[in-house]
């Protein structure tokens, strides 16, 4: 034996142990239904052997006597037929039981795994989410779970098949030693062949699947950029590029076809050839008086019905690594340690202050430098404060820190007690009605919902929606424009009458006139509340009592807008840039003016 062989055997054992552990962990989630399914498979195995025995009995005691002796007792005939149908029906019933319960096992396990993932998704803090790819997280609860439980469908049958092979083998050998040994020798050959087949064909199918994934991505990208493709007359070039990727799918599949053709033919031929051998050998044994015609036929019958279960074992074995990999991915998400809730670290601010930052530094997990460095500030209660700075200066991170969504790496954050609400730059609407989206679980009557919508200047367009408050929005409902979504999200925040409201460039998607109206509503409605907002329009900034000027992660100036304009050149520069060329899309505001003017 080579050294390589010696090292690979333990490794194979380790992998087998891993598979067993993984299957056991799954079964533990649904042990009862799994046991019933396996029980059904066992009954099936026993019935299969029984049906071979019945065939033998009928041939030897009904058919052969009738044609040899010319007569057979009616009771024997009735008994034979009853046995055939009885065993057959029992066998069929066992399949129903096994498959139903295997299904229940499979999908209930999937349910419990997905629920575990869901629990993680809602308890892990926002920072954990920020580090993960959205698509992958969704896959954990969906595709990965489905792959994991995929193996649960064939496992009861495969277990039953193992029993079937043992019982059938024993029975064959007991019936006729010579013939039995020949037949039993073929089982492992078929099994190995099936496993090898699955492995080989899987490699190509996996390659095809991979190519299909690449292809889908490329096609999606190309269609998304179709205007660009057209603008540069690049249609032919793109078609050629995509066709090349598509040809990888074809090539992998064609390779699989060759493997399939060969193995399917082999798997068809080997049992048939064995049967032919059994006929010859069996005839010889009959000649010697060791065997009856019925016994010979039942051998062949046994072989015919065993072909399918043997295939399934190959399938189940080849499915194990896929499922195992899926399970590891799911488990990785479920077992990822819970990170502390940053909101818990927030302390209560001294009276009179809405927000206090004390030497706050924040650094992304994989970033080289800090995003926020040594930020200290006090925002008094009842004021409107604006964060102003260039893109990427750290304004959004500051708002996330202050709202308790993200915890500081060092430093301390104190907030005034009471209801807090935040509206993000990208409004997020849930699949549901407008009302659901404003309430988000908070009980309130329609008047309150409408009042919140009015303050957010959203009442008018909601009134024009087909079902008003009951209009379904989001992915599967009515498509709202960016500005409309923002206003619904804002209404969601205002409905809570927050004592502290954070707006992350929320109103920039609105046209300037609507923005002013909304900010005006905020002023009157919120009264004593504190508003902290990221602002980028001069008109918005001018509304603030206080401005915090942010440059490269540091708060470099704090004061009234006019004072900063006068005293801080960098601030003046950026605001002037806003003013001279900063776009409020001027057709949007123009729509009002021009509409009134003509």
């Amino acid at each position: 034996m080579t050294e390589e062989g010696e090292t690979s055997a333990p490794r194979r054992f380790a992998r087998a142990r891993e598979h067993i552990a993984f299957v056991r962990a799954l079964v533990q989630r649904q042990p009862k239904t799994f046991a019933i399914a396996v029980g059904g498979a066992f009954v099936y195995a026993l019935c299969t052997v029984a049906s071979a025995i019945v065939i033998r009995w009928v041939i030897d005691n009904v058919i052969v006597p009738r044609f040899r002796d010319g007569d057979v007792a009616t009771s024997t005939l009735v008994a034979g037929c009853t046995l055939i149908i009885g065993v057959g029906v029992l066998r069929a019933a066992s399949v129903v039981v096994r498959r139903s319960f295997a299904g229940i096992t499979q999908w209930r396990i999937a349910e419990s795994l997905t629920n575990d993932v869901i629990d993680r998704l809602v308890t892990q803090p926002a920072t954990w989410h920020q580090r993960q790819s959205d698509g992958r997280l969704v896959a954990r609860g969906g595709v990965d779970v489905d792959t994991t439980v995929g193996v649960m469908a064939p496992i009861p049958f495969a277990t039953g098949t193992v029993l079937l092979i043992v019982v059938a083998g024993v029975w064959l050998v007991l019936t006729d030693l010579v013939l039995g040994l020949v037949a039993v020798a073929v089982f492992p050959v078929l099994m190995v062949l099936n496993v090898v087949y699955q492995k080989m064909v899987d490699r190509h199918f996996d390659a095809a699947q991979q190519a299909l994934g690449d292809f889908s991505g490329a096609v999606h990208e190309s269609f998304e950029g179709v205007q660009l493709v057209k603008a540069y007359g690049a249609e032919e070039r793109e078609t050629k590029r995509l066709t090349e990727i598509a040809s990888r799918i074809r090539d992998a599949r064609v390779r699989a076809v060759y493997v399939r053709g060969t193995f399917e033919a082999l798997l068809e031929v080997i049992p048939s050839a064995t049967n032919i051998g059994i006929v010859v050998l069996g005839a010889h044994r009959i000649d010697g008086g060791h065997l009856t015609i019925g016994e010979l036929s039942s051998f062949i019958f046994m072989f015919t019905v065993l072909v399918f279960p043997l295939r399934l074992i190959g399938y189940a074995l080849s499915e194990l690594p896929h499922s195992g990999a899926g399970y590891r991915r799911v488990q990785g998400t479920i077992d990822d340690p819970l990170e502390p809730d940053p909101a818990a670290a927030v302390v209560v601010a001294p009276s009179g202050a809405a927000v206090v930052l004390e030497q706050v530094t924040y650094r992304f997990a994989d970033a080289t430098g800090p995003t926020i460095e040594d930020a200290s500030a006090t925002i008094p209660e009842g004021t409107v404060t604006a964060f102003v700075g260039a893109t990427g200066a750290g304004k959004t991170t500051l708002v996330e820190l202050m709202s308790g969504l993200v915890g500081p790496t060092t430093g301390r954050i104190a907030l005034a007690d009471g209801e807090r609400a935040i509206v993000f730059q990208e409004a997020f609407l849930f699949g549901g009605t407008v009302r659901d989206n404003v309430q988000v679980g908070l009980p309130m009557n329609d008047d309150e919902v409408w009042e919140a919508l009015r303050l957010a200047a959203a009442d008018q367009f909601v009134r024009e929606l087909p079902d008003r408050l009951d209009t379904v929005v989001g992915e599967r409902g009515v498509t709202l424009s960016g500005g409309q979504r923002q206003r619904v999200a804002l209404a969601r925040a205002l409905a809570r009458h927050p004592r502290l409201l954070f707006l992350d460039d929320t109103t920039s998607a609105l046209d300037p006139a609507t923005e002013l109206q909304v900010l005006d509503n905020l002023r009157t409605a919120l009264g004593e509340s504190t508003v902290v907002m990221v602002a980028s329009r001069p008109s918005t900034i001018a509304l603030a009592d206080d401005v915090l000027f942010v440059q490269q992660g540091r708060i470099t100036a704090h004061g009234a807008h006019d004072d900063l304009l006068r005293d801080v050149p960098a601030y003046r520069e950026i605001v002037e840039a806003f003013e001279t060329d900063r776009s409020a899309p001027f057709d949007a505001s123009g729509a009002h003016a021009a509409g009134g003017g003509t």
Binding site: L121, D134, V219, S272, A421, A542, A591
Partner: protein, 611 residues
């Protein structure tokens, strides 16, 4: 669902015409189909070898006399076995060849079909490309073709083999004894219908499961994309409960489908044993008098399984076929979508050098809701242009302004020939747009879109998209020409910086810069610029307008302007209002005139200034 929007024709294709048209689109499939079928039939014949051998061995190889002693003619049996082995070998080779032939041809055909689809989709009108439809179009090229591929992998072969196999088995049975054969065939007929019935329920159940699966994924996806909002509103418990409800419904639907499926396979089993019992009873009752032999009766038992197998398989294949045909219908529906502006019959060349643009009495309206996707705001109103005329001399820099829905974006798209006017004509360099060869037009006239699209590649490759043969030195030259070297040097890998999916690693303004460089490399004579409305930080803004000024130099340029500064800088401003050209002149003139433009300007000024 969006899937019904695209390529679900209102019924021009029955199953047979769809298949006919499909074969036309993929001629590879038809090549040598007869030979493949013949090979498959011979291969299927291999399945009756063993039952026939048993019958022969029992009837002619063994003499069973009344005393019960059995004399076996080994020579005969060995001879038969050798023949059987030979037949089996031939059948196996034929089967393999048939599988390989069908497999390679179908994959080739599907590959060709993918190419045809992509080619066509790139050519259909921009109006048919929008966010809602994109997923559906991608599905046509991927998942619908996959249903066809699945079909060929299993169903296609079954169609070739199953019928033939049943005919072969039935013939052997008929040859043994016509009465018993009729019993077997008679019993199989109700099996077929029962199986169909169960199948139909199964399909409905799995459809439901698929929908529930979609709901489940949507609610999980909400937990992920809405993570921040959910936390900000402390709504984790509520959303988890909501998602778990969807998960439970999905599991229930799957289990239900599974239950129905659990009855399918055993049905064949039950019918098999009933058939065998019936045949044995009838065989025993007839006895040797009817010419029946014990070997034939035993052979019948085996043949019964061989006969019923394909029925069970075939009922499954019928549904797979339905799925494949509806996939094919959707694919054909896309191939039937009209392509964008038609290619000219006799393409004309543009004169060399700078060219003028003559907008001559152009009227345009969006014919259908789909077309309206082109308009600024597709939601409620359709934008139209009414008898717009303007002559733009070569080298002039024009800004088109107007309120939302005024038709300015539409005008830009007509000049770029993404659509043709209903009446009137646009001429470039004196040649009607519809007469210009597309390749030449795209080389001479370039559009920079509002939200420029970037491929998930490097900055350099995205720039090179305009002209794949452009050298590095040429790109560098354009970088200097547009004066954006300082920005480029600030990127981690300069020109080799990856822009990420849709260019998301860059800011909106930086994506614009890449788009301008791309236009620069194309070196067009006409530049159509659809200005962005999105917010851009001040420094990038300065770079963009600097790059734009350099890019527009010496070219005829039309900016669909959303910004005051662009209009103020232009040689000439065209003001559109409700689809009509209402004002035409320089910024200063128009301000002085106190018309629509002046009002737009006032509104903008008061909204954006701090004082």
């Amino acid at each position: 669902m969006t899937d019904t929007v695209v390529g679900e024709p209102s019924g021009p294709y029955s199953a047979t015409t769809a298949i006919g048209r499909g074969l036309e689109e993929a001629p590879v499939l038809r090549q040598g189909l007869g030979v493949t079928w013949l090979l498959a039939a011979v291969g299927a014949g291999g399945r009756v070898v063993v039952p026939v051998l048993i019958q022969q061995a029992i009837d002619n190889g063994m003499d069973i006399d009344a005393t019960g002693s059995e004399r076996v003619r080994m020579g005969f049996i060995v001879g038969c076995a050798l023949v059987a082995m030979g037949a089996l070998a031939i059948a196996a080779v034929c089967q393999r060849t048939a599988v390989v032939r069908l497999g390679t041809r179908s994959e080739q055909a599907l590959s060709d079909l993918r190419t045809r689809l992509i080619e066509h989709i790139h050519r259909i009108s921009l109006a048919d490309h929008n966010d809602e439809r994109r997923g559906a179009l991608v599905a046509r090229v991927t998942s619908d073709i996959e249903t066809l591929s699945n079909f060929f992998r299993w169903g296609g072969l079954a169609w070739l083999i199953d019928g033939t196999l049943m005919v072969i088995v039935a013939s052997v049975m008929l040859a043994y004894n016509w009465f018993l054969a009729l019993i077997a065939i008679g019993i199989s007929i109700p099996l077929f219908f029962v199986l169909r019935l169960v199948q139909r329920h199964l399909v409905t159940a799995y459809d439901r499961a698929r929908r529930r699966n979609g709901d489940m994924l949507a609610s999980i996806s909400e937990l992920v994309t809405g993570a921040e909002t959910i936390r900000a509103y402390g709504a984790g418990g509520m959303f988890a409960a909501r998602a778990k409800g969807a998960v439970r419904q999905r599991a229930d639907a799957q289990i239900r489908g599974n239950m129905i499926g659990a009855f399918l396979f055993p049905l064949g089993e039950v019918f098999s044993v009933i058939t065998i019992a019936a045949i044995v009873t009838a065989g025993v009752l007839i006895g040797p008098a009817g010419g029946l032999t014990s070997g034939a009766l035993v052979g019948f038992i085996f043949l019964t399984y061989r006969y019923l197998e394909p029925i069970a398989e075939f009922t499954e294949v019928l549904d797979q076929t339905q799925t494949a045909v509806s996939g094919l219908r959707r694919v054909l529906g896309v191939l039937d979508m009209p392509v964008g502006p038609p290619a000219p019959q006799q393409p004309q060349h543009l004169p060399p050098g700078r060219v003028s643009i003559d907008i001559d009495d152009v009227t345009f309206s969006y014919r259908s809701r789909a077309d309206r996707a082109l308009a600024d705001d597709a939601l409620f109103e359709s934008a139209v242009l009414e008898r717009v005329s303007a002559f733009i001399p070569a080298g002039q820099q024009v800004a088109v302004v107007g309120a939302t829905g005024s038709g300015k974006t539409t005008l830009g798209r007509l000049i770029a020939r993404f659509a043709d006017p209903i009446t009137g004509q646009i001429r470039v360099g004196g040649v009607p747009l519809s007469q210009i060869d597309n390749t030449e037009l795209r080389r001479r006239l370039v559009v920079v879109a509002q939200e420029p699209f970037l491929f998930d590649d490097t900055v350099a490759e995205n720039i090179r998209f305009a002209r794949p043969e452009a050298t590095r030195a040429e790109i560098e030259r354009i970088v200097d020409l547009l004066d954006v070297r300082d920005w480029l040097d600030g990127l981690t890998d300069g020109l080799d910086t990856s822009v990420g999916e849709r260019g998301e690693s860059l800011s909106a303004g930086e994506r614009q810069l890449v788009a301008l460089l791309r236009a620069g490399v194309a070196d067009p004579d006409v530049l159509v610029l659809d200005e962005a409305t999105s917010s851009v930080d001040a420094l990038t803004e300065v770079r963009i307008s600097r790059a734009l000024t350099h890019l527009a130099e010496g070219r005829t340029s039309i900016a669909i302007a959303h910004r005051l500064s662009t209009a103020a800088r232009a040689d000439r401003v065209l003001v559109l209002h409700e689809g009509r050209l209402v004002e035409d002149g320089h910024h200063d003139e128009l301000i002085g005139a106190g018309g629509t433009y002046a009002r737009l300007y006032d509104a903008w000024l008061s909204a954006t200034s701090a004082s």
